[in-house]
């Protein structure tokens, strides 16, 4: 008990140190300029919360004899839930546009984009075990490939989609060659640099990319040649089906496009895992020397992982460009790479379901939480909730950080850590 008290005091002291400058001091804009005001009570409440929380956590953990037990139980429960969760999520994703809410469909599109990026990166990081901190580079290559091809040659989305994938895969090979001999931290640094190089090139190669101004007017995708234009005339979806043209039609169409692309990514990954190539990726993650000793061509195996992972990043990038109808280097900063990597790690390296859940929580969850708080604030007329909802985006990173720490403490190998074998012995007669 004494130990728990001491621990709680230490945590409270750390909390005091952290929260005093962050929460305790507020700079407010008044007539006399910036004025520093203080919030001692808010700090006291936070520190007290940490103290009590830590006390409870420590004494609770002390009581349970085997701290590993709940983890194993949790894992089993996750495995059981996974069987039902996957089809449930699929059906929900399929039916989402029926809600008719543009807000939800837009949010769903965003989440699916991140799921697709997560699945693409999962090939490189989760399966092949190559830590890639510059995945956004391939996203950018895909997006700019489409934007530039459309601008220069007037090509449509469906023509450019495979081209964007190929160009991104090529960029993957380009990155792959110099980093073949690197591992772990060193690989991470070089990939990080690669991501930045691509962004800097996009900013500075003004004659090609229009620099920081970006490229606008990227064409929208068409449905078998029918556009989603608002005039409703000949050659538009609305005109063809003889319905009122509405923006929601295009939004829903985009949603199903990314849904299909994400499913394609998942399907290809699952197939590859069961093939010798996919198994070689996983073997590479486990032990490179053993792979060599078995005669696996480590060079080719690594390059294919980079190229295929990059290809899906490129697909997602082309989709991003067509959805936004605008690309600029600003969209491809390191924070995007970090978010996608966090999704993969949180979800559990190599787990497809885990990545989907993590993307749902990290991208969709926060947005929904903000929405919920706003809703509550409106109904209760409570300024506290309104304030919370308004400030939530500011604390986005803090919430991400806390979530990451909590998940890593409870489930160090990610949400879904169990690995499905890629092959089982066929039943023999």
């Amino acid at each position: 008990m004494n130990l728990a008290l001491r621990d709680a005091f230490l945590s409270a002291a750390a909390a005091l140190g952290l929260f005093l400058p962050m929460v305790g001091f507020v700079a407010t804009n008044t007539d006399q300029g910036l004025v520093l005001t203080y919030r001692p009570i808010a700090v006291a409440v936070l520190v007290a919360m940490v103290f009590v929380g830590r006390l409870i956590a420590v004494s609770w953990r002390g009581r349970s004899a085997r701290p590993q037990q709940p983890n194993a139980e949790l894992a089993a429960r996750f495995a059981a839930a996974g069987k039902y969760l996957t089809p449930l999520l699929l059906v929900m994703a399929l039916l989402l546009p029926l809600s008719g809410s543009r807000y939800y469909v837009d949010l769903g599109t965003l989440v699916l984009t991140y799921i697709m990026l997560g699945w693409g990166l999962n090939i490189v990081v989760g399966l092949a075990g190559l830590l890639d901190l510059g995945y956004v580079a391939f996203y950018a290559v895909g997006a700019y490939s489409y934007a530039l091809l459309a601008e220069s040659f007037g090509l449509g989305f469906w023509t450019c989609l495979p081209l964007a994938g190929i160009l991104a895969a090529f960029a993957g090979l380009l990155l792959g060659f110099p980093v073949l001999r690197l591992r772990g931290d060193y690989l991470a640094i070089v990939t990080l640099a690669f991501g930045e190089i691509i962004r800097v090139v996009l900013i500075n190669w003004v004659s090609l990319t229009h620099g920081p101004n970006g490229i606008s007017g990227v064409p929208r995708p068409t449905l078998f040649g029918l556009s989603f234009s608002m005039d409703g005339g000949e050659g538009t979806v609305a005109g063809f089906f003889d319905i009122e043209p509405e923006t929601i039609q295009r939004v829903v169409f985009l949603y199903y496009v990314i849904f299909g692309l994400a499913l394609l990514t998942n399907w290809v990954t699952l197939r590859l895992r069961r093939l010798p190539l996919g198994r070689a990726w996983e073997a590479l993650r486990e032990d490179e020397v053993a792979c060599r000793s078995l005669g696996i061509d480590v060079t080719n195996t690594k390059l294919t992982a980079f190229a295929i992972g990059a290809m899906f990043g490129g697909f997602a990038g082309a989709f991003f460009a067509t959805r936004q109808a605008f690309v600029s280097p600003e969209s491809f900063t390191f924070i995007e790479s970090a978010t996608v990597l966090a999704i993969v790690v949180l979800g559990g390296l190599g787990s497809q379901l885990g990545v989907a859940l993590a993307a749902l929580a990290m991208v969709g969850g926060l947005e929904l939480l903000r929405e919920l708080l706003t809703e509550i604030a409106e109904q209760m007329g409570s300024p506290i909730f309104a304030g919370l909802a308004g400030e939530l985006p500011t604390y986005r990173m803090l919430i991400f950080g806390i979530a990451l720490v909590v998940v890593m403490v409870l489930r160090p190998r990610g949400l879904v850590s169990g690995r499905t074998p890629t092959a089982t012995l066929p039943a023999r007669a």
Binding site: E282, D287, A290, S293, L294, I296, R419, P421, T424
Partner: protein, 242 residues
Amino acid sequence: MSALLSLSGVTAYYGAIQALRGVDLVVNEGEIVTLIGANGAGKSTLMMTVCGNPRARDGRIVYGGQDITDLPTHAIMRRRIAQAPEGRRIFGRMTVYENLLMGAEVSGQTDVPALLEQVFALFPRLKERLTQRGGTLSGGEQQMLAIGRALMSRPRLLLLDEPSLGLAPLVVKLIFGAIRELNRTSGLTVLLVEQNAYQALRLAHRGYVLVNGAITMAGSGAELLARPEIRAAYLEGSSHSA
């Protein structure tokens, strides 16, 4: 008997440090040859040099009548040379079955069931553990898996690097018994690197002694076992452990 593997004047370096000093060694078809020596003598280096990592700086390595000195590692390993590397190096998160498959797939073996049966006949324990993750196996089982994985490529030459390392005497006996069995029934050629000199020399047809990167003695297993200097250097205190 014809030579399956022969090394002549092979030297190898780790950076500036010379690890092998002109090694001559022959492994004949159907033989078990052991390489014994103290820690750091270059035993594992010799085995790795055969696999092209590190590459031999001077000298020639000829396997099955072909010069393999300058081939890349994966190309060497696809010529039906299989290695159970030092420290076993099995794929920890993959199942036993997947581990075995890795051995067969790379070399393009199609008759996986028959190969599996062969491995199970040798190590029945692996059959029981088939769906378990490799990392959950005991040390001895992992060694069995490493050898089994190597055998799945249907090798002509099996390279074994310290298979007895860290294993209980009974398990060592089992594994050495399996090697002898393989050699006797299928005529598999084996190059065995061992610290456990007594056991290795009893098992092998011929042996080489490696000191500071050079071969100092060679002869049949029984011959080497009888030599007083071998007894003094490598067998003191260990001859009773068998």
